[in-house]
Protein backbone atom coordinates (compact mmCIF):
# COMPACT_ATOMS: atom_id res chain seq x y z
CA UNK A 1 0.00 0.00 0.00
CA UNK A 2 3.09 2.21 0.34
CA UNK A 3 3.16 2.95 -3.39
CA UNK A 4 -0.51 3.84 -3.55
CA UNK A 5 -0.50 7.37 -5.02
CA UNK A 6 -3.85 8.13 -3.40
CA UNK A 7 -2.78 7.22 0.09
CA UNK A 8 -1.11 10.62 0.62
CA UNK A 9 -4.51 12.31 0.52
CA UNK A 10 -5.94 10.11 3.27
CA UNK A 11 -7.43 12.01 6.18
CA UNK A 12 -6.57 10.36 9.47
CA UNK A 13 -8.10 11.25 12.78
CA UNK A 14 -5.61 12.34 15.39
CA UNK A 15 -8.10 12.92 18.19
CA UNK A 16 -11.77 13.63 18.48
CA UNK A 17 -13.07 17.08 19.34
CA UNK A 18 -16.72 16.26 19.77
CA UNK A 19 -19.90 15.79 17.81
CA UNK A 20 -22.09 18.26 15.97
CA UNK A 21 -25.41 16.88 14.85
CA UNK A 22 -24.24 13.30 15.02
CA UNK A 23 -21.18 14.12 12.96
CA UNK A 24 -17.87 13.55 14.62
CA UNK A 25 -15.58 16.56 14.59
CA UNK A 26 -12.01 15.36 14.75
CA UNK A 27 -8.65 16.99 14.79
CA UNK A 28 -7.10 15.35 11.74
CA UNK A 29 -3.76 15.43 9.98
CA UNK A 30 -5.36 17.99 7.67
CA UNK A 31 -6.17 20.20 10.67
CA UNK A 32 -2.62 19.87 11.89
CA UNK A 33 -1.25 21.07 8.55
CA UNK A 34 -3.74 23.92 8.45
CA UNK A 35 -2.62 25.17 11.83
CA UNK A 36 0.98 24.54 10.86
CA UNK A 37 0.52 26.80 7.85
CA UNK A 38 -1.05 29.47 10.05
CA UNK A 39 1.82 29.12 12.50
CA UNK A 40 4.45 29.38 9.76
CA UNK A 41 2.80 32.50 8.36
CA UNK A 42 2.55 34.05 11.81
CA UNK A 43 6.23 33.36 12.49
CA UNK A 44 7.22 34.61 9.05
CA UNK A 45 5.33 37.84 9.42
CA UNK A 46 5.80 38.55 13.12
CA UNK A 47 9.18 37.12 14.10
CA UNK A 48 11.51 39.29 11.99
CA UNK A 49 12.91 42.37 13.67
CA UNK A 50 11.67 45.73 12.45
CA UNK A 51 14.77 47.25 11.01
CA UNK A 52 15.15 50.11 8.60
CA UNK A 53 17.43 47.99 6.46
CA UNK A 54 15.72 44.60 6.36
CA UNK A 55 17.46 41.29 6.95
CA UNK A 56 16.58 38.12 5.08
CA UNK A 57 13.47 37.14 6.98
CA UNK A 58 12.22 40.67 7.18
CA UNK A 59 12.72 40.86 3.42
CA UNK A 60 10.53 37.80 2.90
CA UNK A 61 7.78 39.35 5.00
CA UNK A 62 8.05 42.68 3.20
CA UNK A 63 8.27 41.08 -0.23
CA UNK A 64 5.07 39.11 0.37
CA UNK A 65 3.40 42.25 1.69
CA UNK A 66 4.42 44.34 -1.32
CA UNK A 67 3.66 41.50 -3.72
CA UNK A 68 0.07 41.12 -2.56
CA UNK A 69 -0.42 44.87 -2.17
CA UNK A 70 0.74 45.49 -5.75
CA UNK A 71 -1.41 42.64 -7.00
CA UNK A 72 -4.49 44.23 -5.44
CA UNK A 73 -3.58 47.73 -6.58
CA UNK A 74 -3.03 46.67 -10.17
CA UNK A 75 -6.20 44.58 -10.51
CA UNK A 76 -8.75 46.11 -8.15
CA UNK A 77 -7.40 49.62 -7.70
CA UNK A 78 -6.79 51.54 -4.50
CA UNK A 79 -10.25 50.73 -3.14
CA UNK A 80 -9.39 47.05 -3.29
CA UNK A 81 -6.89 47.58 -0.49
CA UNK A 82 -9.64 47.26 2.10
CA UNK A 83 -9.59 43.56 1.21
CA UNK A 84 -5.84 43.40 1.69
CA UNK A 85 -6.01 41.20 4.82
CA UNK A 86 -8.38 38.77 3.10
CA UNK A 87 -6.34 38.43 -0.08
CA UNK A 88 -3.11 38.29 1.88
CA UNK A 89 -4.48 35.55 4.15
CA UNK A 90 -5.71 33.53 1.18
CA UNK A 91 -2.48 33.89 -0.75
CA UNK A 92 -0.21 33.08 2.15
CA UNK A 93 -2.39 30.23 3.42
CA UNK A 94 -2.49 28.51 0.02
CA UNK A 95 1.14 29.25 -0.83
CA UNK A 96 2.51 28.05 2.50
CA UNK A 97 0.33 24.93 2.72
CA UNK A 98 1.17 24.05 -0.89
CA UNK A 99 4.89 24.51 -0.34
CA UNK A 100 4.77 22.48 2.86
CA UNK A 101 2.87 19.80 0.95
CA UNK A 102 5.78 19.28 -1.45
CA UNK A 103 7.97 17.98 1.38
CA UNK A 104 7.75 14.17 1.15
CA UNK A 105 5.45 12.42 3.65
CA UNK A 106 3.49 15.60 4.30
CA UNK A 107 -0.13 16.33 3.61
CA UNK A 108 -1.38 18.97 1.19
CA UNK A 109 -4.33 20.87 2.59
CA UNK A 110 -5.48 22.27 -0.74
CA UNK A 111 -5.63 18.84 -2.34
CA UNK A 112 -9.02 18.46 -0.72
CA UNK A 113 -11.98 19.84 -2.59
CA UNK A 114 -13.83 20.84 0.56
CA UNK A 115 -10.99 23.18 1.52
CA UNK A 116 -10.73 24.90 -1.84
CA UNK A 117 -14.51 25.12 -2.17
CA UNK A 118 -14.73 26.74 1.25
CA UNK A 119 -12.11 29.30 0.34
CA UNK A 120 -13.72 29.96 -3.05
CA UNK A 121 -17.15 30.33 -1.45
CA UNK A 122 -15.67 32.76 1.06
CA UNK A 123 -14.50 34.90 -1.84
CA UNK A 124 -17.77 34.46 -3.73
CA UNK A 125 -19.91 35.47 -0.76
CA UNK A 126 -17.63 38.39 0.03
CA UNK A 127 -18.00 39.61 -3.54
CA UNK A 128 -21.77 39.10 -3.51
CA UNK A 129 -22.43 40.70 -0.12
CA UNK A 130 -19.97 43.57 -0.54
CA UNK A 131 -21.08 44.20 -4.11
CA UNK A 132 -24.74 44.33 -3.15
CA UNK A 133 -24.23 46.43 -0.04
CA UNK A 134 -21.95 48.93 -1.76
CA UNK A 135 -23.60 49.26 -5.13
CA UNK A 136 -27.17 48.13 -4.36
CA UNK A 137 -29.04 47.22 -7.51
CA UNK A 138 -26.31 48.71 -9.66
CA UNK A 139 -24.36 45.57 -8.81
CA UNK A 140 -26.46 43.73 -11.39
CA UNK A 141 -24.95 45.89 -14.10
CA UNK A 142 -22.19 43.31 -13.82
CA UNK A 143 -24.39 41.01 -15.88
CA UNK A 144 -25.21 43.64 -18.51
CA UNK A 145 -22.09 44.57 -20.45
CA UNK A 146 -22.36 47.96 -22.09
CA UNK A 147 -22.21 48.34 -25.85
CA UNK A 148 -23.95 45.06 -26.64
CA UNK A 149 -26.76 45.18 -29.26
CA UNK A 150 -30.19 44.78 -27.71
CA UNK A 151 -31.12 41.66 -29.69
CA UNK A 152 -28.31 39.55 -28.29
CA UNK A 153 -28.42 41.15 -24.84
CA UNK A 154 -30.62 38.43 -23.27
CA UNK A 155 -28.19 35.76 -24.40
CA UNK A 156 -25.21 37.73 -23.12
CA UNK A 157 -26.88 38.34 -19.78
CA UNK A 158 -27.73 34.66 -19.51
CA UNK A 159 -24.12 33.72 -20.17
CA UNK A 160 -22.84 36.36 -17.74
CA UNK A 161 -25.12 35.08 -14.97
CA UNK A 162 -24.03 31.51 -15.52
CA UNK A 163 -20.37 32.47 -15.63
CA UNK A 164 -20.79 34.47 -12.43
CA UNK A 165 -22.16 31.48 -10.58
CA UNK A 166 -19.60 29.15 -12.09
CA UNK A 167 -16.75 31.34 -10.88
CA UNK A 168 -16.44 29.70 -7.43
CA UNK A 169 -16.51 26.29 -9.10
CA UNK A 170 -13.65 27.03 -11.46
CA UNK A 171 -11.90 28.99 -8.74
CA UNK A 172 -11.88 26.03 -6.36
CA UNK A 173 -11.52 23.14 -8.81
CA UNK A 174 -8.49 24.74 -10.48
CA UNK A 175 -6.50 24.77 -7.25
CA UNK A 176 -7.75 21.39 -6.06
CA UNK A 177 -7.11 19.63 -9.39
CA UNK A 178 -3.66 21.12 -9.81
CA UNK A 179 -2.50 20.08 -6.38
CA UNK A 180 -4.12 16.65 -6.61
CA UNK A 181 -2.77 15.84 -10.08
CA UNK A 182 0.69 17.13 -9.31
CA UNK A 183 1.01 15.09 -6.16
CA UNK A 184 -0.33 11.94 -7.81
CA UNK A 185 2.16 12.31 -10.67
CA UNK A 186 5.00 12.88 -8.21
CA UNK A 187 4.02 9.82 -6.20
CA UNK A 188 3.65 7.60 -9.26
CA UNK A 189 7.07 8.47 -10.61
CA UNK A 190 8.64 8.22 -7.18
CA UNK A 191 7.14 4.75 -6.72
CA UNK A 192 8.69 3.71 -10.05
CA UNK A 193 12.08 4.40 -8.53
CA UNK A 194 11.35 2.08 -5.63
CA UNK A 195 9.98 -0.62 -7.93
CA UNK A 196 12.89 -0.50 -10.37
CA UNK A 197 15.38 -0.29 -7.54
CA UNK A 198 13.92 -3.49 -6.10
CA UNK A 199 14.67 -5.45 -9.30
CA UNK A 200 18.42 -5.38 -8.92
CA UNK A 201 21.44 -3.78 -10.49
CA UNK A 202 19.80 -3.35 -13.88
CA UNK A 203 16.88 -1.72 -12.18
CA UNK A 204 19.14 0.75 -10.43
CA UNK A 205 20.22 2.12 -13.76
CA UNK A 206 16.67 2.07 -14.99
CA UNK A 207 15.59 3.96 -11.90
CA UNK A 208 17.68 6.93 -12.93
CA UNK A 209 15.04 7.97 -15.43
CA UNK A 210 12.10 8.23 -13.01
CA UNK A 211 14.44 9.78 -10.45
CA UNK A 212 15.28 12.55 -12.90
CA UNK A 213 11.63 12.91 -13.71
CA UNK A 214 10.73 13.10 -10.04
CA UNK A 215 13.29 15.84 -9.49
CA UNK A 216 12.00 17.75 -12.49
CA UNK A 217 8.42 17.26 -11.32
CA UNK A 218 9.32 18.45 -7.84
CA UNK A 219 10.72 21.62 -9.35
CA UNK A 220 7.58 21.99 -11.43
CA UNK A 221 5.43 21.38 -8.37
CA UNK A 222 7.31 24.10 -6.49
CA UNK A 223 6.38 26.45 -9.28
CA UNK A 224 2.80 25.20 -9.39
CA UNK A 225 2.44 25.50 -5.62
CA UNK A 226 3.33 29.17 -5.78
CA UNK A 227 1.58 29.80 -9.07
CA UNK A 228 -1.72 28.34 -7.93
CA UNK A 229 -1.66 30.48 -4.82
CA UNK A 230 -0.96 33.48 -7.04
CA UNK A 231 -3.74 32.52 -9.46
CA UNK A 232 -6.18 32.04 -6.61
CA UNK A 233 -5.26 35.41 -5.14
CA UNK A 234 -5.34 37.31 -8.41
CA UNK A 235 -8.71 35.79 -9.34
CA UNK A 236 -9.92 36.89 -5.93
CA UNK A 237 -8.73 40.40 -6.77
CA UNK A 238 -10.48 40.31 -10.14
CA UNK A 239 -13.75 39.15 -8.58
CA UNK A 240 -13.43 41.82 -5.89
CA UNK A 241 -12.85 44.36 -8.63
CA UNK A 242 -16.20 43.27 -10.09
CA UNK A 243 -17.79 43.98 -6.73
CA UNK A 244 -16.09 47.36 -6.34
CA UNK A 245 -16.57 48.55 -9.92
CA UNK A 246 -19.52 46.70 -11.48
CA UNK A 247 -20.66 47.53 -14.99
CA UNK A 248 -17.28 46.76 -16.56
Amino acid sequence: MAADPIHQFQITKLFSLGHIGGQEIAFTNSSAYMFAAVGIIAILMLAPSRQLVPGRFQSIAELSYEFVANMIRSTAGKEGLKFFPLVFSLFMFIAVSNLVGIIPYTFTVSSHLIVTVTLAMLVFLTVLIYGLSKNGLKFFKLFVPSGVPIYILPLVVFIEVISFFLKPVSHSVRLFANMLAGHIALKVFASFIAMLGAIGVVGWFGAVLPLGLTIALTALELLVAFLQAYVFAILTCIYLNDAIHPGH
Partner: protein, 185 residues
Amino acid sequence: MAEGHGDAKGATAHTAADGGHKAPFPPFQKETFASQLVSLTIAFVALYLIVSKLALPRVGGVIEERQKTIEGDLAAAQKLKGESDEALKAYEAELAGARARAQAIGAETREKLNAAAEAERKTLEERLAGKLADAEKTIAATRTAAMGNVRGIASEAAAAIVQQLAGVQPDSKVLDSAVNASMKG
Protein backbone atom coordinates in the same frame (compact mmCIF):
# COMPACT_ATOMS: atom_id res chain seq x y z
CA MET B 1 11.06 -8.39 -6.67
CA ALA B 2 8.69 -9.04 -9.52
CA GLU B 3 6.07 -9.55 -6.87
CA GLY B 4 6.65 -6.06 -5.42
CA HIS B 5 6.38 -4.58 -8.87
CA GLY B 6 3.11 -6.36 -9.55
CA ASP B 7 1.77 -5.52 -6.13
CA ALA B 8 2.33 -1.79 -6.55
CA LYS B 9 0.85 -1.80 -10.00
CA GLY B 10 -2.12 -3.70 -8.73
CA ALA B 11 -2.68 -1.24 -5.95
CA THR B 12 -2.55 1.65 -8.39
CA ALA B 13 -4.97 0.00 -10.76
CA HIS B 14 -7.17 -0.95 -7.87
CA THR B 15 -7.67 2.53 -6.52
CA ALA B 16 -8.00 4.03 -9.96
CA ALA B 17 -10.60 1.46 -10.98
CA ASP B 18 -12.94 1.43 -8.01
CA GLY B 19 -11.81 4.43 -6.09
CA GLY B 20 -15.28 5.45 -5.03
CA HIS B 21 -16.38 1.95 -4.09
CA LYS B 22 -14.12 0.06 -1.78
CA ALA B 23 -11.62 2.65 -0.57
CA PRO B 24 -13.28 5.95 -1.51
CA PHE B 25 -11.16 8.66 -2.99
CA PRO B 26 -10.09 10.68 0.08
CA PRO B 27 -11.06 14.15 -1.23
CA PHE B 28 -14.60 12.86 -1.74
CA GLN B 29 -15.04 11.16 1.63
CA LYS B 30 -18.01 13.08 2.98
CA GLU B 31 -17.49 12.04 6.60
CA THR B 32 -14.24 14.02 6.72
CA PHE B 33 -15.83 17.24 5.45
CA ALA B 34 -17.21 18.46 8.74
CA SER B 35 -13.91 18.06 10.54
CA GLN B 36 -12.02 19.82 7.79
CA LEU B 37 -14.58 22.60 7.62
CA VAL B 38 -14.38 23.22 11.35
CA SER B 39 -10.60 23.23 11.47
CA LEU B 40 -10.33 25.29 8.29
CA THR B 41 -12.73 27.85 9.71
CA ILE B 42 -10.84 28.10 12.97
CA ALA B 43 -7.46 28.18 11.25
CA PHE B 44 -8.47 30.71 8.65
CA VAL B 45 -10.22 33.01 11.11
CA ALA B 46 -7.13 32.86 13.30
CA LEU B 47 -4.94 33.58 10.30
CA TYR B 48 -7.16 36.46 9.24
CA LEU B 49 -7.02 37.99 12.71
CA ILE B 50 -3.25 37.55 12.96
CA VAL B 51 -2.77 39.02 9.50
CA SER B 52 -5.15 41.94 9.81
CA LYS B 53 -4.46 42.89 13.43
CA LEU B 54 -0.78 42.14 13.79
CA ALA B 55 1.17 41.17 10.71
CA LEU B 56 0.06 43.70 8.12
CA PRO B 57 0.14 46.78 10.38
CA ARG B 58 3.56 45.70 11.57
CA VAL B 59 5.11 45.09 8.18
CA GLY B 60 3.23 47.99 6.60
CA GLY B 61 4.43 50.25 9.41
CA VAL B 62 8.04 49.27 8.79
CA ILE B 63 7.69 49.89 5.07
CA GLU B 64 5.97 53.20 5.64
CA GLU B 65 8.59 54.23 8.17
CA ARG B 66 11.35 53.37 5.71
CA GLN B 67 9.56 55.31 2.99
CA LYS B 68 9.28 58.28 5.33
CA THR B 69 12.92 58.05 6.32
CA ILE B 70 14.02 57.91 2.71
CA GLU B 71 11.80 60.82 1.79
CA GLY B 72 12.98 62.80 4.81
CA ASP B 73 16.61 62.12 3.97
CA LEU B 74 16.05 63.08 0.37
CA ALA B 75 14.31 66.27 1.41
CA ALA B 76 17.14 67.09 3.82
CA ALA B 77 19.71 66.45 1.11
CA GLN B 78 17.73 68.61 -1.27
CA LYS B 79 17.55 71.37 1.32
CA LEU B 80 21.27 71.20 2.01
CA LYS B 81 21.99 71.25 -1.70
CA GLY B 82 19.77 74.32 -2.03
CA GLU B 83 21.61 75.96 0.82
CA SER B 84 25.01 75.25 -0.67
CA ASP B 85 23.77 76.52 -4.03
CA GLU B 86 22.57 79.66 -2.35
CA ALA B 87 25.89 80.10 -0.59
CA LEU B 88 27.70 79.62 -3.87
CA LYS B 89 25.45 82.17 -5.52
CA ALA B 90 26.01 84.64 -2.68
CA TYR B 91 29.75 84.09 -2.92
CA GLU B 92 29.69 84.68 -6.64
CA ALA B 93 27.56 87.79 -6.24
CA GLU B 94 29.94 89.07 -3.59
CA LEU B 95 32.89 88.35 -5.82
CA ALA B 96 31.30 90.11 -8.78
CA GLY B 97 30.43 93.09 -6.56
CA ALA B 98 33.95 93.31 -5.23
CA ARG B 99 35.33 93.11 -8.73
CA ALA B 100 32.97 95.83 -9.92
CA ARG B 101 33.91 98.00 -6.96
CA ALA B 102 37.59 97.49 -7.63
CA GLN B 103 37.08 98.46 -11.22
CA ALA B 104 35.05 101.51 -10.22
CA ILE B 105 37.76 102.61 -7.81
CA GLY B 106 40.40 102.06 -10.46
CA ALA B 107 38.41 103.99 -13.06
CA GLU B 108 37.76 106.82 -10.63
CA THR B 109 41.41 107.10 -9.69
CA ARG B 110 42.43 107.02 -13.30
CA GLU B 111 39.93 109.74 -14.10
CA LYS B 112 41.11 111.89 -11.24
CA LEU B 113 44.73 111.49 -12.18
CA ASN B 114 43.94 112.17 -15.81
CA ALA B 115 42.02 115.31 -14.89
CA ALA B 116 44.87 116.52 -12.68
CA ALA B 117 47.42 115.82 -15.38
CA GLU B 118 45.22 117.56 -17.93
CA ALA B 119 44.87 120.63 -15.72
CA GLU B 120 48.56 120.74 -15.08
CA ARG B 121 49.25 120.40 -18.77
CA LYS B 122 46.82 123.21 -19.53
CA THR B 123 48.44 125.66 -17.08
CA LEU B 124 51.82 124.69 -18.38
CA GLU B 125 50.69 125.25 -21.93
CA GLU B 126 49.16 128.57 -20.97
CA ARG B 127 52.35 129.60 -19.32
CA LEU B 128 54.37 128.46 -22.29
CA ALA B 129 51.97 130.23 -24.65
CA GLY B 130 52.37 133.42 -22.57
CA LYS B 131 56.11 133.09 -22.65
CA LEU B 132 55.99 132.37 -26.35
CA ALA B 133 53.88 135.49 -26.95
CA ASP B 134 56.28 137.55 -24.85
CA ALA B 135 59.18 136.15 -26.77
CA GLU B 136 57.47 136.87 -30.08
CA LYS B 137 56.73 140.40 -28.92
CA THR B 138 60.34 140.85 -27.94
CA ILE B 139 61.44 139.40 -31.27
CA ALA B 140 59.06 141.69 -33.15
CA ALA B 141 60.25 144.71 -31.15
CA THR B 142 63.83 143.74 -31.69
CA ARG B 143 63.10 143.15 -35.31
CA THR B 144 61.41 146.53 -35.84
CA ALA B 145 64.22 148.14 -33.96
CA ALA B 146 66.66 146.29 -36.10
CA MET B 147 64.70 147.14 -39.20
CA GLY B 148 64.75 150.82 -38.14
CA ASN B 149 68.48 150.59 -37.67
CA VAL B 150 68.84 148.87 -41.04
CA ARG B 151 66.95 151.69 -42.65
CA GLY B 152 69.07 154.29 -41.00
CA ILE B 153 72.21 152.40 -42.00
CA ALA B 154 70.87 151.91 -45.55
CA SER B 155 70.00 155.59 -46.06
CA GLU B 156 73.31 156.63 -44.56
CA ALA B 157 75.07 154.11 -46.76
CA ALA B 158 73.10 155.28 -49.78
CA ALA B 159 73.85 158.95 -48.99
CA ALA B 160 77.50 158.09 -48.63
CA ILE B 161 77.51 156.09 -51.90
CA VAL B 162 75.70 158.90 -53.74
CA GLN B 163 78.17 161.49 -52.31
CA GLN B 164 81.10 159.36 -53.30
CA LEU B 165 79.80 158.68 -56.79
CA ALA B 166 78.14 162.03 -57.61
CA GLY B 167 79.74 164.22 -55.04
CA VAL B 168 76.41 165.75 -54.41
CA GLN B 169 74.64 165.76 -51.10
CA PRO B 170 71.41 163.97 -51.98
CA ASP B 171 68.09 165.28 -50.93
CA SER B 172 67.02 163.39 -47.85
CA LYS B 173 63.41 163.08 -49.04
CA VAL B 174 64.37 161.51 -52.34
CA LEU B 175 66.83 159.28 -50.54
CA ASP B 176 64.15 158.10 -48.13
CA SER B 177 61.70 157.24 -50.88
CA ALA B 178 64.40 155.42 -52.83
CA VAL B 179 65.40 153.40 -49.75
CA ASN B 180 61.79 152.60 -49.08
CA ALA B 181 61.25 151.47 -52.64
CA SER B 182 64.31 149.20 -52.62
CA MET B 183 63.40 147.71 -49.23
CA LYS B 184 59.96 146.87 -50.48
CA GLY B 185 61.21 145.30 -53.68
